[in-house]
């Protein structure tokens, strides 16, 4: 099936099965490898993208359900000032160990800071708790979110 998707501000045409999850459309049909596969079941959060600004698990979202939604992936995040601030904070704190989960974490954190410019510790925990960092960088994730929020203020 042919689908037209708006990804990172540009329309793209892809030829995939109707039940293909957005994750695999991005990764293998569009060669946008930044969005990661971790569990395929919406548990780990590594595949988080924004659909119309909302953080969504792309492994659970079939291509046929997307319609004209605007999709943002980690590759396009720097177009948003909040996203750029989050990426800079992540780098400044050097959150990463293996780094594999961090695209999803950054997408979630950007969504959080977009709706809540000064999140409390408990706001951060609530928003980020559905993401697994197998290396255990949670302390730094929290620190980077606070740094990004402080830059906004």
């Amino acid at each position: 099936m042919q689908y037209r998707l708006n990804v990172n501000g540009t329309d793209h045409s892809v030829e995939v099965d109707a039940d293909t999850p957005l994750l695999w459309v991005l990764r293998d049909a569009m060669n946008l490898k930044g969005t990661k596969y971790g569990c395929g079941a919406g548990i780990c959060g590594a595949c988080t993208v924004h659909i119309d600004g909302e953080p969504v698990r792309s492994c659970l979202m079939t291509v046929s359900s997307l319609g004209t939604s605007k999709i943002t992936t980690i590759e396009g995040l720097a177009h948003s000032p909040v996203g750029q601030r989050v990426q800079e904070a992540w780098l400044k704190v050097d959150v990463m160990q293996c780094g594999y989960c961090q695209a999803g974490q950054i997408m979630e954190a950007t969504a959080l800071l977009t709706r809540n410019v000064a999140p409390s510790d408990s706001d951060i925990t609530t928003a980020m708790d559905s993401h697994i960092c197998r290396c255990g960088t949670y302390t730094r994730i929290r620190q980077a979110i606070k740094l990004a929020a402080a830059k906004e203020a």
């Binding site: 930044g34 590594a46 961090q102």
Partner: protein, 742 residues
């Protein structure tokens, strides 16, 4: 106790069969290359080009090759820092390339055992210092001055007296004409003059990671590549009888589907009778996209021969353990003094039973490999911690000569020991060879959890006798573990020197083994990740039985300063004391605490590093556990190479341990794992992670690694704190909060 292949590679670093020499050579375009070569001087610049340790181009660009794979432990950055420091490089001009596997040039290309720092700290600095010496030589010659009058800073050689200077790039071609100096003549920097080592440095790939740049194994694409899934028998040791391959072959996108018979029996049974790294039987499905391959798998109908272990379950294993405890241990690991006699005359006897579960690694990037096998050659792009073993395994299984196998190491989305085993690489090779095209094999999460080399579970029965002062005089321990014919399964053993053996006059360590088909292997801090919990918990029990403060009791048991038998140059009681004293001070040990709140302490010597940890917890009356804070004091020698990465490793080690304490347990039923995804085996997430404080105790010892040492003592620190808070002793992991209720 470690997998034999890993032991072999580590041994090769310790006792090299070929002498390594430093060689400088010219590269295309007037560049200087310097590296350690084990092959002697017949190696030409041309064939060495790819894998010189450092290359300086005329435009001043410095390329440093990281020989060890990057799995998130910071190897790429730290190895380059070691070279750049002694080179006096301008760090902003340094780019870091990941080496391919090249055993003719590099020794110890692996990520394991926290060995990257101890094995490389000196040789990498020597490479940097030799390169700097060559650049100085070239400058001095050009200026007609003495080398000793020249100095360097940020990629520039200076002769201050004549106000001359030259960039490294401008000197590279001239420097390449000289012989590299004998390493023995090199004078390394006084650490107090370090400008790069010891400075918090952002990871070399971090900027790419935050932008989603493709750098992991799973991101690899090669022209003409197909995608594969590989379905193995869910029962360990099972194989395929028949499958509906014709149905699959008609599905959208499917290029091929076929049965893989699997490798030889000796490969499966290499490690203590368990399934070992090798080509397991299964069904390969190859398609034009991974999603289509995986979708076809859902339509798969297989008749399996489930083999001899189809009845294995947690209950069956526990029952076998119970039966073994009724009999004497079949393996004697240590027998010093007269333990039974000392137990009879002891003033007090304490007895306990501990058990812990199997655990899976669950690297967040599932196992994957892109392989291209054609015309007797094989090329791989893979996240692997031990590429040399992968090459051997492929050579053995597919009959390809070692020299015809190329391994490109990608960044790994986590390792934790899982990627020391290279089963997914040999699978990818077999599938590629069969379909005659490059193939990316990607495991699903269910494949990963269902076919791990698990951290082995275990059971311990311990009896100790105290004298009238509360000092332990006898310790008798029966360990029920896994293995076959008196040989422990991989990472399922117990060292006869395990602390506190060297501090108690009468000790018996014995073991009995259960034979099983469950694959086992190294998980971060293999052995210690479970044994430290058992030993340090029971020492805490003894302290309470003796009516003594647990931290003071630990210090008294350590006794006088000396080295006990152990890894490296031995277990230092002085360094153990050092971290315990430090964590005592950091945590405010002994302060008064609210009701149902307690502090617990534990320490260990693990992978050449010393760590002591204190946890502060409270336990509500309904058993709900809150971990308020963890303090860690860590001694890995006199120098932290990259404080940024080092602190991150420590924090990660603490978090990893919390997953063991709070969440993770693999359950077996009908010969397979019950868990098929993260649910039921969750790494901790943010709400379970307390504040933590890490401090390094800088002792006058060679720098060692941080991947492992910080992790093990966290587990007993938490469970000892639980006892202090509510009087309930946790003797089974992970914690079941219901058992902590009043």
């Amino acid at each position: 106790m470690l997998p034999t292949e890993l032991q072999r590679v580590m041994e090769g670093v310790k006792h090299p069969t070929r002498r390594a020499v430093l060689i400088a050579s010219a590269a295309a375009g007037g560049a200087l290359m310097v590296g350690w070569y084990a092959v002697g001087k017949d190696r030409t610049a041309k064939d060495g080009e790819l894998n010189a340790f450092v290359t300086i181009a005329p435009n001043n660009a410095i390329t440093i090759v990281a020989k060890n794979p990057e799995v998130g432990q910071g190897a790429k950055t730290a190895l380059a820092m070691m070279i750049a420091e002694e080179l006096d490089a301008d760090w902003s001009h340094v780019t870091i390339a990941q080496a391919d596997l090249d055993t003719a040039v590099f020794k110890g290309q692996y990520a394991g055992g926290s060995m990257m720092t101890p094995e490389n700290y000196l040789p990498m600095r020597q490479v940097g210092a030799a390169t700097r010496a060559l650049l100085i030589k070239a400058a001095a010659k050009q200026w007609g001055v003495a080398e000793s009058e020249c100095s360097t800073d940020k990629s520039v050689v200076y002769h201050r007296a004549s106000n001359k200077s030259a960039r490294y790039g401008a000197l590279a071609a001239a420097a390449a004409r000289y012989e590299a100096p004998d390493p023995k003549t090199l004078v390394l920097k006084d650490p107090k003059n370090f400008k790069i080592i010891g400075k918090p440095t952002v990871g070399i790939d971090s900027a790419r990671i935050v932008k989603g740049t493709p750098i992991y194994g799973i991101d690899v694409t090669v022209p003409g590549m197909l995608y594969a899934v590989f379905q193995k028998c869910p029962v360990f040791g099972g194989k395929v009888k028949s499958a509906n391959l014709d149905v699959l072959k008609k599905m959208a996108g499917v290029k091929d589907a076929f049965i893989v018979e699997g490798g030889s029996k000796e490969v499966f049974e290499a490690e203590g009778g368990t399934v070992s790294s090798g080509l397991l039987p299964g069904i390969a499905i190859v398609a034009t996209s991974w999603w289509q391959a995986d979708k076809a798998r859902k339509a798969l109908q297989v008749v399996w021969d489930e083999g001899p272990y189809a009845a294995t379950s947690n209950e069956s294993l526990a029952k076998e353990a119970e039966a073994l405890f009724l009999k004497p241990a079949t393996l004697s690991l240590r027998n010093t003094g007269d333990t039974d006699g000392a137990l009879k005359t002891a003033a007090k006897v304490v007895e306990a039973r501990y058990d812990y579960p199997f655990i899976a690694h669950v690297t967040l990037e599932p196992q994957n490999c892109t392989a291209h096998v054609a015309n007797g050659k094989a090329e791989f792009w893979a996240p692997t911690q031990l590429p040399e073993a992968a090459r051997g395994l492929v050579a053995h299984t597919l009959g390809i000569e070692l020299k015809n196998i190329t391994v490109h190491m990608t960044r790994s989305g986590g390792g934790f020991g899982r990627r020391l085993m290279n089963d997914y690489m040999v699978e990818a090779a077999w599938i590629s060879k069969t379909v005659g095209a490059p193939v990316k094999l990607l495991w699903s999460r269910a494949d990963d959890i269902g076919h791990d080399f698990y951290r082995p579970g275990g059971w311990h029965q311990i009896k100790a006798g105290l004298d009238k002062d509360g000092k332990p005089v006898a310790w008798k321990q029966h360990f029920v573990s896994f293995g076959k014919d008196k040989k422990f399964a991989s990472c399922a053993g117990l060292s006869p020197d395990s602390y506190p053996a060297g501090r108690i006059p009468n000790v018996v360590y014995g073991a009995s083994l259960i034979q099983t088909g469950i694959p086992m292997g190294p998980l971060r801090a293999p052995g210690e990740n479970a044994l430290v919990w058992v030993f340090q918990s029971f020492i805490d029990e003894l302290a309470h039985a003796a009516g003594k403060d647990p931290l003071t009791y630990q210090l008294e048991l350590l006794g006088k300063d000396e080295k006990l038998p152990g890894r490296g140059d031995g277990f230092s009681t002085a360094r153990s004391r050092g971290v315990l004293e430090k964590v005592r001070q950091m945590s405010g040990w002994g302060r008064s605490l609210p009701p149902r709140t307690g502090l617990g302490v534990a320490f260990s010597y693990c992978h050449l590093g010393y760590a002591a940890e204190v946890a502060e917890v409270s336990v509500a009356k309904d058993g709900a556990l809150t971990i308020h804070k963890i303090w860690a004091a860590v001694d890995v020698g006199r120098q932290i190479v990259n404080p940024m990465g080092a602190e991150n490793q420590c924090q990660g080690g603490i978090v990893d341990a919390l997953s063991h304490v709070l969440n993770q347990k693999i359950t077996f039923a009908n010969g397979r794992t019950v868990q098929t995804n993260f649910d039921g085996h969750m790494p901790v997430t943010m709400h379970q992670v307390p504040p933590m404080e890490v401090a390094f105790v800088l002792s006058d010892n060679n720098p060692t690694g941080l991947g492992e040492p910080v992790m093990p003592p966290v587990i007993p620190a938490v469970t000892n704190a639980i006892f202090a808070a509510c009087g309930k002793r946790v003797r089974s992991l992970p914690i079941d909060e219901k058992t902590l209720a009043v």
